[in-house]
């Protein structure tokens, strides 16, 4: 983990208000775990003042590039979307604890679930899993057709199911609507689950698998200050019986074992 200055290679619109930015530099030449994030200074000066947490969505160690895919929400991401090739981006990372994949065995079946701008980190995850011989299935949900992205890329690592809330593309509904036998996505269909997306989606997953013994990991979001564990801005209460009373999203997470945290 360190501060770095990376050069913008490209920064393109990939879906409604969603951009993929590719950054390049020697800095990339370090161990990066899927699910880790960067704390990005979106522009110089004091407005915006704070860094913005954005997941690493892909890494190419030979080209020394990494990608982030982000949706324009407010001032920070707006300014980031205006960066052009050749600009330098000031970032801090890789931060946090990513998706645990070291224990994965060849032939295991992983279910990746993503919602909206929770989908990006799943791409790098899918690739790393595939490399280990893990069989990857992805279920990714969006609001409507024009918001869909990464469908094709995830497709190169396994089957991909797309849902949209308005049904304008893929299956009509929420990602959780597909987690059953009809789609061959019931509990028996996978060995481990990795999810990243909006809080209601993660809550639904937690409710569904809480009482099961399935291995499952959720990547959480929280407003951050420091991004490195010092300010206590980003906590989630720890579940009963944990050795902690709380967890810091930035340094204990953003990825947590599904039963570990209380999703208020």
């Amino acid at each position: 983990m360190d501060k770095g200055l990376l050069q913008v290679v490209s920064n393109e619109l990939v879906a409604d208000r969603v951009y993929r930015i590719r950054l390049q530099g020697e800095w990339v030449n370090r161990k990066i775990v899927p699910g880790q994030f960067l704390h990005v200074k979106c522009g110089p000066g004091i407005d915006p003042l704070l860094r913005r947490p954005i997941s690493i969505s892909d890494v190419d160690q030979t080209e020394h590039t990494l990608d982030m895919i982000y949706r324009v929400e407010g001032s920070g991401t707006k300014i980031l979307s205006e960066a052009i090739a050749g600009n330098q981006i000031d970032l801090l990372g890789p931060l946090g604890i990513g998706f645990p994949i070291d224990q994965r065995q060849k032939g295991e079946r992983a279910l990746l679930i993503g919602g909206g701008v929770g989908v990006p980190p799943l791409l790098y995850l899918a690739r790393e899993l595939a490399q280990k011989g893990v069989r990857v299935t992805s279920v990714i949900g969006f609001g409507e057709a024009n918001q869909v992205f990464l469908e094709e890329e995830l497709g190169s690592y396994g089957e991909v199911y797309v849902t949209t809330i308005d049904g304008s593309k893929g299956h009509n509904g929420l990602v959780t609507d597909l987690l059953n036998e009809q789609y061959g996505l019931d509990n028996n269909a996978w060995d481990v689950l990795y999810a990243c997306g909006p809080l209601p989606m993660l809550r639904a997953l937690q409710d569904r698998y809480q009482a099961t013994d399935k291995e499952a990991y959720l990547s959480l979001e929280q407003r951050m200050g420091c991004g490195v564990g010092a300010c206590l801005a980003c906590v989630y209460p720890a579940a009963e019986g944990s050795d902690h009373s709380y967890y810091k999203t930035c340094s204990d997470g953003p990825v947590f074992e599904l039963r570990k945290v209380v999703l208020g």
Binding site: C231, C234, Y236, Y246
Partner: protein, 306 residues
Amino acid sequence: MTAARLQVELAGMKLRNPIMPASGCFGFGKEYAQFYDLEKLGAIAVKATTVEERAGNPTPRVAETPGGMLNAIGLQNPGLDHVLEHELPWLERFDTPIIANIAGTTTEDYVAVAERISQVQNVTALELNISCPNVSCGGITFGTDPVIAADLTKEIKKVSKKPVFVKLSPNVTDVVTIAKAVEAAGADGLSMINTLLGMRIDLRTRKPILANQVGGLSGPAIKPVAIRMIWQVSQQVDIPIIGMGGIQSAEDVIEFFLAGASAVAVGTANFVDPYACPTIIDELEEWLDRMGVNSITELIGAGWKN
């Protein structure tokens, strides 16, 4: 030689340079120790400690504002015992003075923390966070009433083995009166300023962004308020001031010195740049060169000392 020009001495503490991270913005040092050697720092003001562990406020706890940020962490901390057993001992590996920030909701709380924490070897001074609501006075904060602030200071001074800095709240009509009251009560120094009370409302939810509704405003936005208050207070008291509020650069540090500070703390800037403190220390040397100043102590209050 060049090191000596950054040296300051305040309330008996000798600091190799006048830069310390501000309380609550640096945890107990572990995280930033991953970036640089904490011996580079003049001192470290650690996170507020209370007698018991505190869970703090619900999230969201931070929100951004123009040139600043709001926080409502709610004094989350592992409690006195844990701090004494784990956090402070861990910091012993650095030859860097620790300023222990203490908080509570009753005088007894504060006294209990002060008594024990002031005995720790690497704790060089206490910083009394009086922005907390005083439960025995109906929740008004210790820091907004000169009499209550002075009484608390007296009690702490009775038990503290180390110099006591009282950290003043800027959310008052007359900060000078409070400063003089705590000086008269025996404070060895002042820290100022703590955060301004502020709020942001989310246009989508139509509710305050912070779960706690209001929060403390920090960052560059508040710098002119900090400078004004230090300017006013430093001319009226004889105890040293640790200045803070929006410091981002060596120029800012010099501005605080000119206003009357004898050392400074850097808070929010650590979040923007984890190297903020060591960078400021290096740049401070360059600034003193440029200004032809041999010792930074020459600048203390130079704005008003003709």
